[in-house]
Structure formats: C-alpha cells, structure tokens
Symmetry: D2
Subunit: 154 residues, 4 copies
C-alpha cells in the first residue's frame, strides 16, 4: 500500500530522480480476474506481463517513453530470454510489488533481475533485453542518453 | 494525468465519499504491449478487461472488495451482457480514462454505462451485471449494505 | 503433425465448398487454463477471442487470408460493435463449437450472428465488421471477389 | 464440424500410440490477432500459452485429462520454472508447430524441452512441472498410471 502511494506520488511529481539510484524501482500491479485462471491463482504467463509493465514504467520514470525511443532513435527493446521461477502463487485482488533491478547494461543488452512480491517473493526472474533497430531488428548500441541515465557501467 | 493523481489520492486516503456521488467514477488504465495487436491498436476484447478493472475499483472505492463479498455474503457479480461500440482505437502508451456510471440498480442487477476516453470517447458500452449466489450461481438480491451505498434507486 | 496436416488438407483441398452455403460455419475451440479465471469459468472477454478465431477461419475457408487481403487489396476488417449475451459459462477442457453466420453483407459492412455452444448455447452475439483501408482506416467497399464468394446479398 | 470430428477421431481412436514413443509430440497452433502485439509479432508471454496448450494435448493424447486427474487422483500439475529463449518472432497467421519432449520424469517432477517452430526454431524452452495435491498444493508422487504411460525412467 505504501509502495503504491509512493509510486503515484513520484511519478506525477517527477521529483524522483531516477538517475540517483537507477537500480531500484518498484511498480505496483493489482490482480484482476483477467489475470487469474481456474486453478484460483494468477496464470503463469501473466507474471511476464506484470514484469514488462514494471520495466516500461522504470524506463518512463527515467525519462524515456518507448514510443519516443522508436520515433526519435529508431530503436526498440525486445526480450531475448527469460528465466523465471514460480515460488508462491498470487491470487485475485492482490496488490503486487514488481521490482526492476538492472544488473548489467552492456553495449546493446540490459540484464534485469525482477521479482513479484506480496511481502514474500512470489516469483523471480532474470530477463535479458536487447536494443534493436526498429526496421531491421538487428541489435544496435543503446543510445548514449539512455546509457548515461541508466548508469553507464558497461 | 489529473485524473490519475485524483484516483491515487482518493483511494489511499479513503477521504472520498462515494455515496455522495455514486454515479461518477474514473479509473485510469495505461496501455502496454500486452494490450495491443499487430494492427497497431488495442485488441478489441481488451477494452472489456479495462472496463472490468474500472468496475472493480469503483466497487472498492465504495468500500467493497469482491473477495470479501464472496466470503461474507456468498455473492459474486457476473456479467450478463455487453453492448460495446468501437469508435476510435487506443494505441500503445495511451493513458486511458475508463468511466463507470451505474444507470440502474435493481433487485439483483446493475446496469452500467461505461466509456474509454482519451480526450474523445474511444469506446462506449452498456454492461449488465447480475448478483448471484457464489455456490448455486442463481440470481440473488444485492446485499442491502451495497444497495444503500451505491444509491438505492430500484 | 499428422493430425494437423489432415486439418490443413481438408481446408486446402477445398473439397468443402463454402460458397455453396456461405452462411454455416463452425470452428471448434478447446478451453485451456489461459482462457479461464478464478471464478472457475471462461473469462468473459475471452469469448470475443473465440468468436474472432471462428471468423478468421470462416474467411480462410472461403479462400481468403487476412494477410493476403491486406497486402493485395490494402483492406482490413475491423470490429465496429459487439452485442453479446452470456447465458451459461464454459469451463476448462470444454470443446466449444463456435458458429459463424453472416446475416447481412453490405457495401462495406458485414453483420454476423455468432454462438458459442456446448450442446446448449452458452453465449450468443451480434458482431458488426467494417472493411477499411489499411492505411487510412476509412471504410471502403468490400472487394468484389469477397462479396461474390460470401454471397452478394447487399 | 467435420474437420474437428476428424481431429477428435484421430485422437480418440488411439491409432496413434503415444506410449510407443512418449517423447515426441507436436501440436499446431494458429496465430490470431489476439496473440500479437503492436510490434507486429507474437507477444512474448503468449509463447508460454502455446507451450501449455501443447503439454495439455500431449497429456490428453497419452490418455489423461487434467480435469479427471484432479477429480480422481486429487493432483494437478503446476509450473515450477521456465527458461525460454526468443530466437525469431512468429507473426499473425503463422501455423506454428509446438513440440513437447519430456526429458526427465522424476518422482513428482517432469522436465520438458519445448520448441515453437515454423520450419526454423523460433523459441525454445525448458519447463519444469511439479505434481501437487489439489488441496494442499504440496508436491506429491506422480500417479503410477501416468508414470508408466509416459515412460517410467526416474
């Protein structure tokens, strides 16, 4: 609950300076019926949706809209691989904290550690993203402005 | 943007009194890749997800969690019918305002007018919900506490 | 592999003559966990997915691939409105019969009656589709080859 | 209808002997608009849906319905982990071959290698499934009838 207030506040005010600590970010996701299955829990593929929402908001909080990135820089980010572990299930009505922690920012690739939490960690994943040209889909260098903002640590 | 701030504030503080104006409610939904299709727009079935999210948050703002309703009152709300018109498409990254306007609260049925807006109205729908027993799935009377809170107008 | 080839064969061989009776078409959809919600039934928005799958296969059975229509004729079909009634729920593992019955083929619009059945009718809908230019999204005349194949009944 | 009956027949008739070669199974999945995103390709989470459909049909082909397993044996299969690599994208209208290859069947766990192919391999994954009690969600021994059918190789 606290997390949610924070996220709303920070986003709207833009007082938050993502560049001061580009490695910590949490986005809250509410679980609706659409996310669950008849096993009574969140459907296993839907955690990947939650994690992408959090990555999108992490990028937005750092000052980058993906639509702008495509139009101005002709780049998009695509997922290269996901390794996800399901530890405990989330259920209807949960307010989940989805974390985004970039552990490596390379020339054209970013590696994230992500978790979905409800107090405890419910799922955790390593997600590899590649920056590609929006026309050719070939890997390209991550634009320098993004690298600088996110933490240029090769 | 304003709407979103309001919603966050109101939700967390619970200062908002839905019973004073039970007929106006807006929930903001961000469009992610998961919501779009290769036509470049939001997939037509997904507006029904957005509208349900807004109805769920409308009920929560009025003080009712659906999980509590099921456990305490043994009732759930199910959709009986939807009539939806698609006017203009929403696209990736849009922040959509989803409105909830209950136009009729009957014995066991609630009728909603809902819109999805981005300045203009993109889609509008009439959604009929029925309150049913959680075990038998037979229509039952909407619990009196809910009717009073939502506006008891038969 | 064999199984699928069989399906392809039946389709591709055109032994079935859709033009002889363009108004009757059934496509079977299996319900998987992804389609259900924690209420134990198929999530209400997902019937719209099932109905679109059936319309796509109906068009394919008539000899038209949507990707070809876009590339050759520069047209796509978009949904203008849906009026759907939910009568009984479908559940996990059901093999559902989804029917496609075009009741009106106009200049740029097709009206379908569709049902989802498991013996009984579970849901029924009227779906209006409009043929639009793939670039401008303005309504255009349905290509004559399609109208002739589907039954040119204005 | 005919088409589907054909598919059912082939499955039901058990002319195919899954026990003779329990390790090879392919299920074909058609890509519809619902599966794609505005990047023009299949949304990355949806490959997990395709892979689960194939595992479900693999189990059905071996003679086991998951609803029966729950009712008779009180067991369900849940996903413990997925490691998936995205190599090339699938697009609208593709007919994808989804393979199911169990590489290890342990006491309560099955490990699958799965691919999604369109000629070439588009994605490949290792998926770990655990058999749990349907009430307590604790891991339990895979029922002996299933182990025998699937290849009892510890």
């Amino acid at each position: 609950m606290l997390i949610w207030q924070r996220v709303c506040y920070l986003h709207e005010s833009r007082e938050w300076q993502p560049e001061l600590n580009p490695k910590l970010f949490t986005w809250t996701v509410r679980v609706y019926y659409e996310d669950t299955d008849s096993g009574g829990v969140v459907y296993y593929a839907n955690y990947l949706k939650f994690m992408e929402r959090a990555r999108t908001e992490w990028l937005r909080a750092a000052g980058f809209d993906q639509s702008v990135l495509l139009n101005e820089h002709r780049v998009i980010f695509v997922v290269r691989s996901v390794a996800i572990e399901y530890i405990k299930p989330a259920i209807f009505d949960d307010a989940l904290a989805v974390t985004v922690h970039p552990t490596h920012i390379g020339r054209s690739q970013i590696v994230f550690q992500q978790t979905v939490e409800r107090g405890d960690v419910l799922t955790k994943a390593e997600v590899k993203i590649v920056c590609v040209n929006g026309d050719t889909f070939k890997p390209v260098k991550i634009p320098e402005t993004i690298r600088q903002k996110l933490g240029n640590e090769n």
